[in-house]
């Protein structure tokens, strides 16, 4: 399968062409956030305060990286399970966030919001964390340092491998893929 190169931050016209099942290589800047950081970001919106970075056109990677050992830009950095961010994601999509990356299912509200806002959900291979970290050239903490692994980092990545799990039309690999391989155990 041919890899599609995708530049970060994202571009709405470009990601509208991506389809569920496409394999992509991401290059550019992405931000990390998981449970605790999402709670704070949405609290900013609730209270009318500015968020620590502008989410417009950005991709948020759901990850809490391991600390970097000497000679590495970042520690192991595979995706965390995305459904825990479902309660917050539509708020950020309404603010212009165009991409999310993690692993695992999303709920209907998130998928509806993605369709409305023309956003995409990428999957990285869960557990392939040491392999993935080799594609991250630089990592800086930009906010919430007190959260430790949950702080918001800015990653500079090159050819970061991912799969389009849910595209901007709502097509979903987690629905279509398993259907193709499911068999009746009693036959």
């Amino acid at each position: 399968m041919e890899n599609i190169r995708v530049q970060l931050p994202l571009n709405k016209e470009e990601i509208a062409k991506l389809r569920a099942g496409d394999t992509v290589l991401l290059t550019g800047i992405m931000y990390t956030a998981r449970d605790a950081a999402h709670k704070r970001l949405v609290a900013c919106l609730d209270e009318g305060r500015e968020m620590p970075f502008d989410v417009k056109n950005q991709l948020i990677y759901y990850v809490g990286p391991a600390p970097a050992s000497p000679g590495h830009a970042v520690g192991s950095a595979g995706p965390t399970t995305s459904y825990r961010m479902d309660a917050y994601a539509p708020r950020l999509l309404d603010e212009g966030l165009l991409g999310m990356m993690g692993k695992g299912k999303r709920n209907d509200k998130v998928i509806e919001s993605m369709k409305k806002n023309g956003a995409v959900y990428f999957g990285a291979v869960g557990g392939a964390a040491a392999l993935i970290s080799q594609k991250i050239e630089k990592s800086e903490v930009v906010a919430y340092e007190d959260l430790g692994a949950e702080a918001i980092h800015r990653f500079t990545v090159k050819d970061f491998p991912a799969l389009v799990i849910i595209d901007s039309l709502g097509n979903n690999v987690y629905m279509d893929g398993p259907r193709k391989y499911a068999v009746d155990p009693d036959q």
Binding site: M1, G21, T23, A36, V63, G64, P65, A66, P67, A68, S69, H72, G75, S76, A77, G78, T80, T81, Y83, K103, G104, K105, G123, V125, G126, G127, A128, A129, A130, L131, S133, Q134, L147, G148, A149, E150, P161, L163, I165, V173, Y174, D176, G177, P178, R179, K180, Y181, A182, V183, D184, P185
Partner: protein, 281 residues
């Protein structure tokens, strides 16, 4: 009475944490490598190849296999002829965790309070310690750092005797089906059947750390392990949940006598980063 210094226990646990975090067991490595060849789905094969490469990188560069280096769970069997000297046992274990997670560049993933504060303890303590007193003069230690992507997909149910084998099969297969891509398949499914509410859960956890090359010694439960694996792999979830035949690598069952009125069943799932390391002092 044999005396064992707390410092010896600490050093052993420290080494086991690093070994478990960096090096996947030979059993899981061989199984993933094998499935990377025979998985029917092309994208599933690609995922499994990446997992194999990831194991190689982690071992070679001494970095964590997965960034979620877990809560540190320990099963420690203490021989009743052992006298531990030179320190508090629980504090010794926590000191080993504290130092290994700091010096080994492992992620600190523990918060102090589950509901209200949720402040990171910054050293991955406290550990989760399960001890048993056993005959002999040795200490047997199994360290199994447990990530929460898979932990969150676990389940327990108080079945009743009338539910029978079918009840167990339906509950296990349904739990894996509902989990779908979330726990990072291919997974290993630990199942505890019998005992009480908490014993069932404890057995299921212990079964996530049993070698996938072993089987239940009772042939009836061995057949049940095989049947559950077959049915799980008929679900089509596949590597990373994107479709394929390799959803689980193994189902491990442990049982315990139970009450006339009950049949508790607990399911603890662990992902392909099924980390554990074992030593006897």
């Amino acid at each position: 009475m044999r005396e064992i210094e707390a410092s010896v226990i600490k050093k052993t646990i420290y080494d086991l944490i690093l070994k478990a975090s960096y090096e996947i067991g030979d059993d899981v490595y061989a199984c993933v490598a094998n499935c990377a060849e025979c998985e029917e789905s092309p994208s599933g094969r690609e995922v499994l190849k990446q997992l194999k490469e990831n194991y190689d990188i982690a071992k070679r560069e001494r970095v964590a296999i997965c960034q979620d280096t877990g809560m540190c769970v320990l099963f420690i069997d203490i021989g009743q002829e052992v006298h531990i000297t030179g320190g508090d046992f629980t504090e010794t274990v926590n000191n080993a965790v504290r130092e290994a997670y700091k010096e080994g560049y492992l992620r600190k993933s523990v918060v102090n309070d589950p509901l209200y504060d949720r402040i990171n303890t910054k050293d991955n303590t406290p550990a989760v310690i399960h001890t048993r007193i056993v005959p002999g003069d040795k200490i047997d230690i199994m360290v199994t750092p447990k990530g929460f992507g898979s932990e969150n997909m676990s389940a327990i149910k108080m079945l009743v005797p009338a539910d029978g084998e079918k009840g167990v099969i339906d509950f296990v297969v349904d739990t894996v089906k509902k989990a779908g891509p979330n726990p990072c398949p291919p997974i290993i499914v630990g199942v505890g059947i019998g005992g009480t509410f908490e014993i069932a859960a404890l057995m299921a956890k212990r079964m996530t750390a049993r070698s996938i090359d072993t089987v239940n010694p009772d042939p009836r439960y061995q057949r049940l392990e095989e049947e559950l694996l077959r049915r799980i792999n008929c679900l089509g979830i596949g590597p990373a949940g994107i479709g394929g035949r390799t959803t689980a690598l193994k189902v491990n069952i442990e049982t315990y006598p139970t009450h006339i009125a009950g049949m508790p069943v607990a399911i603890n799932i662990v992902c392909h980063a099924a980390r554990h390391a074992h030593a006897v002092i």
